[in-house]
């Protein structure tokens, strides 16, 4: 859509984006409560390419189809990885599918996170709870190309100490000398030694220099604005803030209108947007 072509690294759409391709579940991993990860391989043995930030429509036969971000490493050509939260009838049935089951996959869809245009910048990732899943492919890619960027700071928030998604990897990333990781929780048992507070408070405390920082935000639509406000208070202007949004994606190609956000369709013009290009839409309550 004109006015929303913020980056030109779109992937070509699948040959027929409306026909699911068969994938087999080769691994199911329980993450935190109510969240599981699938490793999928194509039944036809072909390739599957995507960019960080894109999503697939996953189809559980007889149950329905849902839009799920890809949460794996886009350089891993052996499988695609999806991390799914049980949120409704379809994802509940998906959570019961065993290794070996077959599902339909349409995609990849949507605009990815920008990477190459941001070489040289400091990067700040801001996310909470399940929002780390759509950001993880970008974090992987940035770490693959670590020498191309300045500081890398990750601010992640969860409700408590028991539901920190990808906790092992957060520890790994924190253990690197070239990455700062701030984890904050809403509340914790007495004696907890980490940070307690909102994600925005973690952003306020993070060691960043706004002038050379590009920020990536994956929060609920409601919490995106407070996150952006906290970033702007640190000197990061809206044209250097990238957000991913999610609404009721159905067709994945901008035809059905279910995910319309003002003049844009999140499935096609998003889910990744540069914030200054949609900022005005956040002020309209009816949207």
């Amino acid at each position: 859509m004109d006015g929303f072509a913020q980056h030109d690294d779109l992937m070509p759409l699948p040959v027929d984006p409306m026909i699911p391709r068969l994938f087999r579940i080769v691994k199911v991993k329980k993450e935190v409560r109510g969240v599981f990860t699938w490793h999928l391989v194509p039944v036809d043995g072909g390739d599957f390419s995507y960019r960080p930030g894109q999503f697939n429509m996953l189809y559980a036969f007889g149950a329905g189809e849902v839009a799920i971000s890809i949460s794996g490493d886009c350089r891993d050509k052996d499988k695609i990885v999806h991390t799914i939260r049980m949120a409704g009838s379809v994802t509940k049935i998906m959570s019961q599918l065993p290794v070996g089951a077959t599902v339909g996959v349409r995609g990849p869809f949507g605009r990815p996170w920008p990477i190459e245009p941001l070489y040289g910048a400091d990067l700040l990732f801001v996310t909470g709870t399940i929002g780390l899943a759509p950001l993880r492919p970008l974090i992987y890619e940035v770490l693959h190309q670590r020498d191309k960027f300045g500081k890398v700071v990750i601010c992640y928030g969860s409700r408590g100490t028991e539901d920190i998604l990808f906790e092992d990897e957060l520890h790994q990333w924190r253990g690197r000398f070239d990455t700062n990781v701030h984890v904050t929780v809403h509340s914790a048992p007495s004696g907890y030694r980490g940070r307690v507070g909102s994600v925005a408070a973690a952003v306020r405390a993070a060691s960043i220099e706004g002038a050379n920082t590009q920020a990536f935000v994956c929060r609920s639509e409601t919490m995106t604005k407070p996150a952006v406000d906290a970033l702007r208070a640190r000197g990061i202007t809206s044209d250097r803030i990238w957000v991913t949004l999610e609404r009721n994606m159905k067709c994945g190609v901008g035809l059905c209108g279910h995910c319309q956000f003002g003049p844009t369709f999140m499935c096609k013009d998003g889910p990744v947007y540069r914030f200054d290009q949609i900022e005005h839409l956040f002020e309209i309550r009816e949207l």
Binding site: G34, D163, L165, S190, G191, G194, V196, S220, M223
Partner: protein
């Protein structure tokens, strides 16, 4: 010979007192003392008389709420460069929560009862102090509102 420096420079360079009039700072320093808390030590306890506040110089302080019948719950952390404690400003001057050191904490404690008397006697000083505390309280309120919205709108994973 080691020269022992007073608390004045430490207080003057703490972000909470940035830009404070030197004569006002001199009055405040008269109410100050150095404080060090080891890991797990309480800076103050909920319900006890609130007669101090702390400029955090180094370390992390966890604010905890005791709700009875269960261990206290950590609800917020405060970092170096920030302050802990505003109950000394608000009647009935009792702490509304616990504050514990999460690691070694170096701070400057300020005698709130002493400062309240000086603020009563010097309303300009009182106004300066309130001007600095109100943004702290507003920020804490904002933090809590954000967390309520987060809890209401984002899944618990």
């Amino acid at each position: 010979m080691v020269e022992i420096e007073g608390l004045g420079p430490l207080v003057a360079t703490h972000p909470f007192f940035t830009g404070m009039d030197p004569s006002a700072l001199e009055i405040i320093v008269g109410c100050c003392a150095n404080a060090v808390f080891k890991t797990g030590a309480h800076l103050y306890r909920q319900g006890e008389p609130a007669d101090k506040f702390y400029l955090i110089r180094d370390g992390l302080v966890t604010l905890e709420v005791y709700v009875g019948g269960r261990p206290a719950i950590a609800i917020e952390t405060v970092e170096a460069g920030e302050i802990v404690g505003w109950s000394w400003l608000v009647s009935p001057y009792k702490w509304s929560n616990d504050a514990r050191a999460s690691g070694t904490v170096r701070a400057i404690s300020i005698d709130g009862a002493c400062l309240r008397r000086k603020m009563e006697a010097d309303r300009v000083l009182g106004y300066e102090i309130y001007k600095r505390f109100l943004p702290v309280m507003a920020r804490r309120l904002l933090n809590n509102r954000e967390r309520i919205v987060e809890l209401a709108t984002e899944p618990a994973t």
